[in-house]
């Protein structure tokens, strides 16, 4: 897959960082404002897809990104399960119990484990969508070779 023209590349360079930051904001404020892991993860995946579409395979090795994203996806879902199992050993003996202190309502560091779940589920969603998108591109190039 070839990259696009230099105008698209330059605009993408400027914009993708901002989109990425917005995704991180949506994820970390998931328990205070609308949004959360699912929305933020999808926005981060959108930033990556923009980069991949603009630059193509001439500057980035797409195979390496695919390996990395599959690994990240597996690790993130593993950590979510680990956080849930940890509740058996800390505090009440319930799967998915909220064992960290709740803190003050409305503060950014509050709500116990919910922000942690938000962060790891965001990583999982982003990595899964990037993997699905890359699979459609990479294996097409295998045929044409």
């Amino acid at each position: 897959m070839k990259g696009m023209s230099i105008i698209v590349k330059k605009v993408t360079q400027l914009l993708s960082g901002i989109i990425f930051l917005y995704g991180i904001y949506i994820i970390t404020h998931g328990h205070l404002t609308p949004g959360g892991g699912f929305a933020g993860g999808a926005i981060i995946a959108g930033a990556y897809i923009l980069l991949i579409l603009a630059f193509g395979s001439d500057t980035i090795k797409l195979k390496n990104i695919e390996k990395g994203s599959s690994l990240t996806e597996s690790l993130a879902i593993f950590i979510v399960l680990l956080l849930a199992v940890l509740a058996f050993f800390l505090g009440s003996k319930i799967f998915f119990a909220n064992y960290l202190p709740k803190g003050q309502l409305g503060e950014i560091i509050s709500a116990g484990v919910i922000p942690l779940y938000n962060i790891f589920i965001g990583i999982e969603v982003a990595a899964a969508i990037i993997t699905i998108f890359l699979a459609l591109i990479i294996f097409k190039e295998e045929i044409t070779k």
Binding site: P34, F38, L105, V125, A128, I132, A135, L136
Partner: protein
């Protein structure tokens, strides 16, 4: 009441496409239309006229919020919808590479 019926008509349009079209891409499109209509119906059920969005107002206590439970369920369903659509499209493109057509009748005939 008219809103419920319009939702169901959207569902019927999707069902019509699913039954009559023979193109794999059109079938995927019809499935996603049916999905949209179900999301719409579930969220409309949870709406309350005087309610506000389900984010707690810490200063005002006696607020009425719209029902957050259908919203949470639809939130997961939207992401699942993306996953299933991507999987269906992957199967469709693999079949196209093998048979060079999206026509499901042709694909049936070439079985063997």
């Amino acid at each position: 009441m008219i809103v419920y019926i319009l939702c169901f008509i959207l569902f019927l349009v999707g069902l019509y496409g699913l039954i009559t079209r023979r193109n794999l891409i059109k079938i995927v499109i019809s499935l996603s239309i049916m999905e949209f209509s179900v999301f719409l119906f579930l969220v409309i059920i949870g709406y309350i006229d005087s309610g506000i969005a389900p984010i707690v107002d810490l200063k005002e206590t006696n607020q009425i919020y719209v029902d957050p439970l259908p919203q949470a369920m639809v939130l997961t369903a939207i992401v699942i919808g993306l996953a299933t659509t991507a999987m269906l499209l992957a199967i469709a493109i693999r079949l196209y590479r093998k048979y060079k057509t999206f026509d499901i009748r042709e694909i049936n005939n070439l079985r063997g």
